[in-house]
Amino acid sequence: MILNYLGNFALLFCLIISLVIFITSISCLNNKNFFLKKNLNELLFFKFFFAVLSFSSLIILFIISEFSNETVLNNSHISKPLFYKISGTWGNHEGSLLLWLLVLTFFAFFYYLNSKNRPTDERLLTILFQEVIILGFLFFLLKASNPFNIIYPVPKEGLGLNPILQDPLLAIHPPVLYLGYVTTSIVFSSSLAGLIKGNINNLWAKDIKKWVFISWTFLTLGILLGSIWAYYELGWGGFWFWDPVENISLMPWLSLTALVHCVLALEKRSILHSWTVILSIITFTLGICGTFLVRSGILNSVHTFANDPERGLYILFFLFFLIFLSVFIYFIYEDKFELNNKNLNLYTKETSIILNNWFVMYFLSVILIGTVYPIFLEVLSNEKISVGPPFFNKLIIPFLIPFLIFMSIGPNLKWTKNNYFSKKLKLIIIFILSIILSTLVSKFFGNSALNITILLAASFYLFIITIKDLIKKGFKNYSQTISHFGFSLLVLSILLNSIFSNEITSNMRVGDEIKFSDKIIKLQKLENTTEANFLKLIAYFKIEEKNKTELVLEPEIRIYDKPETITSEAAIKTDIFKDRFLVINLVKENEYLNVRYQEKPFMLWIWISAIIISLGGIINIFKKNEKQIL
């Protein structure tokens, strides 16, 4: 009970300190001696401390199942395993916002400690913008989604955590994603501060680069974890569904990817100032926009745990406040860029980075339109539609081909001047080689659609060239090469996966068997067991293949009682080149099961390649700053 008050008061203290920092940093901007730097340091630390206090009280409330707390009541349950009691803390709207606040305060503190080589007024301004964001979240937490609401009389039992959220992956997916989102706020604040002070230059880029890479790496990993979760837990047999929420997490990633390239160009060549600032703004506002779309219930998907329009309204106002703030600041201070009109040669790294930006912007707008178009249509004409995978596939896949080719050539071009095309022959040979390779692959597996073959050729091209670079360049700029190699592997695995996936669906009773190419799938027996907080129905399947060992798959159906939900746990056998995926569903008022068996090649490689991509980012974070190449 007392923890409820402790958490709440810690939040209030956070608010007070935040206001103090806000006001003093404004007065500091005019009079720098007014406020000692050390004080700000301490204040930021105390704010972080109170956020930790508040968050840990919520965690303890969850652990001891204190149902006088409304958040605990709605999202926990006595019989839940301890691990999920803890992860339940951020598996709901209020708790996840508190986590968001915690990370925000931490990074504000961390930024201030690590930016001593920046001009004081730029740091102050950055903290000021950061404080605006933190205040927004604090007001929202205290006003519309307080995690410490008290219920009286105290109920004896909680309502339980949504079972599909009871998964170890989902315990770490949101925190990792949040780390990514929140670091973009530092990039956002710092770029606005730099814009106002006219500090956007190569030195600024050098300092902010680390933050960009940190957030990019976390976002990549966060999306990967979410995607793995969707594959194993939702049992839909895929890893990406163009679900609104997935799109929302992908959009900031795309603009951040473009930003990564721009920051590098700004650092090395002092170009693309406005691109960098605009992309910083876009990335962060897309993150908040995502929060709005997911949390307000304006879109519905697996992630919508709070359908409260009042909350949505608050986030909407906050979102547009930030958007207008940054847009006006941009318009006013736009002229402050230190522009040096360098001539852009066609065959240079600069050009390929700009090309990359435009491609990414195109992908971004396709996804953005696909995600919010249903809302526009609904409001304007009352018509309800949902945009599905065909839309995205049609608009994105054709443009992926030139994108991949530019991606293979671009990194090998030099800044300003270029002598790469003297080695034209090698490039052409590799290109022909990849066309032959892709034709062979397509022919061999009996798929002869032209566009797929070309796409395959383009990704083979990128794949071979990045491998060549990896071997040839060795440790020079290897973070970039690794990420690009990972990306080519990702595209390749996704392609091969989607071309060669095979599946069969059938209704089966115990003892039935079905044929699938050269295999026989048998349903041997069913078994019921009782677990801590759910009932389990296990089906034992045997898959016999000629000349090969038998494989037993044991998919499950789980029936949770708090709240009453049925989930399907797919049985997945992962091999290096192929995943075998079996999921069962209950058919209402029938004794048979609905069985879906899939063979999905290269699933493992999709995960591996995403890890390789983020590895490139991690290497860059820990890499010592190289000497300036100008």
Binding site: S296, K384, E564
Partner: protein, 174 residues
């Protein structure tokens, strides 16, 4: 000049987007799928508060599109707070309100109803509190809103306040 136009158009576009989102929020829950797991209200047999005759819920839950089953007691302070809302619900909306009097003394309960008005169409006795547990209540007060098919479409733990009252209103008007 050109520069200024592009600034204006960006701002106008953003304002437009804002209003689309704003009105999008008002249209609630576009794609909410029908919840098929909704529980049916158990058919219990309890004694009538006034006549003390055995009455089953099946006999009471007829003749209205919505029902509100409210568990209350005269000793329960939050019940006093929520009572005016029940009276208002009764006055303004076509909802049949059924009271379950939970572990209460008859005299006190009668006094309570005299003092605060009686919004209930029927009141049933739950002297030992078993029926309330069977319904799935956590405590007093608690309310269940049922539709014509006697399915629980909403459960309110704790007293009905202004916010909950508006939610109920919205639910019924839908």
């Amino acid at each position: 000049m050109k520069n200024r136009y592009y600034k204006y158009s960006i701002v106008i576009f953003l304002i437009f987007t804002f209003f689309i989102f704003y009105y999008g929020l008002k249209e609630k829950n576009f794609y909410t799928p029908e919840d098929i797991s909704i529980k049916k209200f158990p058919n219990l047999i309890l004694n009538d508060f006034y006549t003390n005759t055995k009455t089953s819920f099946d006999d009471i839950l007829i003749g209205s599109n919505y029902y509100l089953v409210n568990i209350w007691a005269s000793w329960c302070l939050p019940c006093r707070e929520e009572h005016p809302y029940l009276v208002q619900l009764k006055k303004n909306l076509s909802i049949k309100i059924i009271g379950i009097n939970y572990k209460d003394k008859r005299d006190n309960a009668l006094k309570f109803l005299d003092e605060y008005d009686n919004p209930y169409s029927v009141i049933l006795n739950d002297n030992n509190g078993t029926a309330s547990i069977e319904i799935g209540a956590y405590g007093v007060p608690e309310s269940f809103i049922l539709n014509t098919e006697k399915k629980i479409i909403k459960k309110i733990i704790g007293p009905i306040d202004k916010k909950k009252f508006n939610e109920i209103k919205k639910l019924i008007k839908k």
